[in-house]
């Protein structure tokens, strides 16, 4: 690995100052499960690595009146082990439970997954479905960007050199809502998504009509995608096969998958349809109170 300097600030302002002073030659380090490997292979060669794990704001994991706050450096094991996340933001727990193996989850963060901006990052479609908002701090102050608009291309995002992702905030969950994330991989564990789908659904009191829905798609375009029309076409509809079929078709319309070693374009389009349906079915069941415990690999 190339030589670099290392700092581990304990205060957000200090981290931001170090980032600003480095003129784009620094990289923030959270769990390091992407960054350390990328430095080893030479893809990134920062002169300074800023370990942001000691900054309190970046390690937050709390559910308050204004929703769920997930610090950008909070590791996956804490997120998927959190009762509030499991109960109300289940799609996020689903994703954090299958990112890498247990050793990776001990370190990897959803903030890092987002900033790595891979089209197949497992947490991103889940965060899109849960309508996550990125809180970004920079020398000029703080701004907010929806998760759905954060990634701009493979490995690229809206962050300027002097900006740091502080947390992802999720709005409070309505009653009778449920969510799910699932991916297709040829193995049981430890693989990169061929297609990943996250969905969140809210039902009316009777549990018969969809009042809100949001769907995120991964690995089927240069960035994770918000399938806006697929979600909108469910609103006001009764839960039925035909309703779900409309969402499946709308989701397929916006994707532009590539053919690579993980699957052909045609296969990914097909799998997107299958997964959108299954993920919606699980999210709907969860919205009716059935926890639908998902055992990875089954």
């Amino acid at each position: 690995m190339h030589a670099f300097d290392y700092k581990s600030p304990e205060v957000l302002a200090e981290a931001l100052q170090q980032l600003a002073d480095s003129d784009g030659s620094a990289k923030p380090l959270a769990g390091g499960t992407d960054l350390i490997d990328q430095m080893r292979t030479g893809r990134h060669q920062p002169t300074l690595v800023i370990d942001i794990k000691k900054v309190a704001e970046l390690n937050v994991l709390e559910c308050a009146g204004d929703g769920l706050h997930v610090g950008a450096a909070t590791p996956c094991y804490r997120i998927c082990g959190d009762d509030n996340v499991q109960q109300d933001y289940t799609a996020l727990a689903d994703a954090c439970n299958i990112i890498g193996g247990v050793q990776i989850q001990s370190r990897a963060s959803v903030g890092g997954n987002l900033c790595n901006s891979g089209p197949a990052g497992d947490s991103i479609p889940a965060m899109i479905a849960l309508r996550g908002i990125c809180v970004i701090a920079g020398s000029a102050g703080t701004r907010e960007v929806p998760v759905a608009e954060f990634c701009t291309g493979p490995g690229q995002n809206v962050l300027a050199d002097n900006e740091l992702l502080v947390e992802i905030r999720f709005p409070p969950r309505p009653t009778a809502s449920g969510s799910h994330y699932r991916r297709m991989i040829p193995r049981n564990e430890m693989d990169i998504a061929v297609v990943g789908v996250g969905a969140s659904v809210t039902l009316n009191e009777a549990g018969t009509t969809i009042t809100d829905a949001c769907i995120g798609l991964g690995a089927v375009g240069p960035t994770p995608l918000l399938a806006a029309r697929a979600g909108e076409c469910l609103v006001g509809q009764t839960v039925s096969d035909a309703t779900l079929a409309n969402a499946v078709e709308a989701a397929k319309e916006i994707i532009s998958p590539i053919t690579d070693m993980r699957g052909t374009q045609e296969y990914r389009v097909h799998v997107t349809g299958v997964l959108v349906r299954r993920v919606l079915e699980t999210a709907i069941s969860r919205a009716t109170g059935d926890p639908c415990v998902v055992r990875p690999g089954h």
């Binding site: 690995m1 080893r40 193996g101 430890m190």
Partner: protein
């Protein structure tokens, strides 16, 4: 650029002080500076789990941890699992169950098993296969490893009552 710094950590319940550059991984430090060569280097990119150690109570792959991040940490390596010089339940179960052939993945599997049993003393086969998914073995086909973990869990429950 040599910007070595002093890092102090607790390794296998003893205070260890070492010099390291920010670019050195914890795996490099353990093997090359501290001579703890029981931790193996496999893929060096976080896929194989051969370099698994327990850091602050959580299993991590030491190839994806910087040595400087170990400042103040509590780390357990394969050298720290035996009991007074004799094999512990997990080590014995791997040996008796022939849960290894070439052995390069074994220290990582044993550390991961230790992390699993600390979390769940009586894991199902499903729990074991999920928890050990980040450890690769190209020799055994995994079945003997899974059976060894089950035997170790059982034995540990007998021992600890």
């Amino acid at each position: 650029m040599s910007n070595k710094r002093v890092v102090t950590a607790t390794i296998n319940e003893e205070t260890a002080e070492f010099l390291c550059e920010p670019r050195q991984t914890l795996l490099e430090v353990l093997r090359d500076s501290l001579n703890l060569t029981g931790t193996k280097e496999g893929c060096s990119n976080g896929n194989c789990g051969a370099c698994t150690v327990i850091m602050n109570g959580h299993a991590v792959v030491s190839c994806l941890v910087l040595g400087v991040e170990a400042e103040g940490a509590e780390i357990q390596t394969i050298e720290g699992v035996s009991c007074d010089g004799s094999l512990n339940e997990v080590q014995s179960a791997f040996l008796e169950g022939a849960a290894l052939q070439c052995g390069i993945c074994t220290p990582g599997f044993i550390m991961q098993t230790e992390a699993l049993l600390a979390e769940k003393s009586n894991p199902t086969e499903d729990d074991i296969r999920f928890y050990l998914a980040g450890n690769l073995c190209r020799c055994t086909g995994y079945d003997k490893i899974v059976r060894a973990v089950m035997a170790a869990a059982e034995q540990r429950q007998v021992t600890t009552g």
